[in-house]
Symmetry: C2
Subunit: 365 residues, 2 copies
Amino acid sequence: MSEDGINALLLTTAANIAYFSGFQTQFWQSPTRPWFLIVPGHGKPIAVIPEIGAACMARGFLDDIRTWPSPHPTDDGVSLLASTIEEVAGKAGQIGLLMGAETHIRMPLSDLEILRKKLPGAAWADATPIVRDLRIVKSPREIEKISHVCQLVSDTFAKAPQLFATGQTVIEAFRTFKIECLKRGVDDVSYLVGGAGPGGYGDIISPPSEQTLEVGDVLILDTGCVYDGYFCDFDRNYGFGRTSDDAQRAYETVYRATEAGLEAARPGNTCRDLFYAMQKELDAGGALGNAVGRLGHGLGSELTEPPSHAAFDETTLKPGMVITLEPGMAFAPGCNMVHEENIVIRDGGPELLTRRAAPELPIIV
Amino acid sequence: MSEDGINALLLTTAANIAYFSGFQTQFWQSPTRPWFLIVPGHGKPIAVIPEIGAACMARGFLDDIRTWPSPHPTDDGVSLLASTIEEVAGKAGQIGLLMGAETHIRMPLSDLEILRKKLPGAAWADATPIVRDLRIVKSPREIEKISHVCQLVSDTFAKAPQLFATGQTVIEAFRTFKIECLKRGVDDVSYLVGGAGPGGYGDIISPPSEQTLEVGDVLILDTGCVYDGYFCDFDRNYGFGRTSDDAQRAYETVYRATEAGLEAARPGNTCRDLFYAMQKELDAGGALGNAVGRLGHGLGSELTEPPSHAAFDETTLKPGMVITLEPGMAFAPGCNMVHEENIVIRDGGPELLTRRAAPELPIIV
């Protein structure tokens, strides 16, 4: 911040406020009230939040928690926010706001305009790189949480033959999986998407359907379970009874691509290197394209975080980065195959946080 | 839109895009990619979305789905969005954007600035009231979904004496509840917050702690479970072994306040009327304040929606509105009591969607 001449950083979203305050609540699902955190150049952040959050925020490590009665019809925290920013940054300070890729401002746009008018002398700068660079390398404690949830979900996937069967609907299969994850100790099965179809699935972001699992189907479950505020994000594929040679070959291709990714996931290499290492295997395996747009990403207190394993991303891998390897490909019209593992970059080579998927498509009989 | 001279409406958030397209996915939890929906003055909306969403979106009722390869480092959909808006609204059209209370723009702020520059002739208008007025009255199908999830969760709460016990940690109690809700058929226990303490709880938005439930504790669980994209949002309170007279009295006060709310929840009355009807009972019961800032709200595809039962909200109740009644009060320092029921406004009187809470604080022995 000091190097960039930023006097105060204004944060508005769940993950960033949690990162700088320890404040965790599912109440973010209520879009009604805005929440603000101001990070000064020196000293602890200052919370400017609705009264409803004061008791919960006070259990964290912040000392300065300012509240207003929210919701408010004419001034939902904006005046309090403006005066706090001015106190921290002065009348002509430079305020860092996250304006770049993968961000948004979680407050009404009209209130942001009012805030700017209340601070006529302030300059506004994009602080996306500052926050990105801080969050992209995880602390040992963060890695421990991600590792823990990866283990719990790996244990659950190990039970797949007891959880999934033909005759079940996809929605039943997903529900069974959620219950098993909770029993094993995840806090929440926040994210569970996927699909199934004869020979392959059409996409990997859909909610489960009432479709019945049948012999010949390939099922994917892609899950982001949460433990103490941190996500895993990985998937597993299953065939039922028998599967097509095409599906089996596609599975082996993405498996090989993941192996290539593991080999390339070393400090000093870039996300671009990772991408090309995996894409080479996908191309060799006859990939017909990939709608996902990248072959993995960062992971932490959000399901997906920077960087992106894509040709455009030159982020250099560093020890402590937690990332997914997610090679995927279409192998026939409407048929996709996607693998995903979660790893932490270490000196020498990556550490797998997930238990490695089977080298051949597991068949549930 | 036509009355307000708006030629196209630009939507960026999960609930609004789902409302106008039927598109449902938990993939919104990934903050990486922006998604756009353009609602023209006539005809079906047009989706402008990342390639990864094309197959899922195509299962809905839209005909015109435009995609770009995302994430993209220099143009993450902005050019495609600008040309689509211009096609729909013309070079000098008026574009409706949600800028008001309870909204935010889910795209990078820098991309919004670029979009504005790409459309120099366009005017931008706040369309918050248009979307709010549409969504605030629910269709029979929407009410059916909310009613269904309210019933499933009411059934789960009915099992409380078998689910909760002293000696359990709060986190274990919450996990047990989540599993039971899933077994009964909810899609997700998206939101479960609350707390417990001797004689009362300090707030209602915290995640569960490792604290052990003990005799004399009061426990609250406040949950937003989801069924087919629609939420319930209600809570229940339990005492363990014995409870203080103060807690019992506070419980009876908020129960009476809810009764007063049910009496007042009739077409033609306003949210302000509802607020005063409930607040009168809370004041009579010795309420020491209420950090929640209102006594209930709208409910639907989001955990909380407009309106607010508060002195400032003059929204007139209409048949088909689904709302919560949520009277709450502090009754001692650090001790709160909050009730919540979900209802639909009907001619003649409200229909309870939740099974009414017990008139006295239930004691689990």
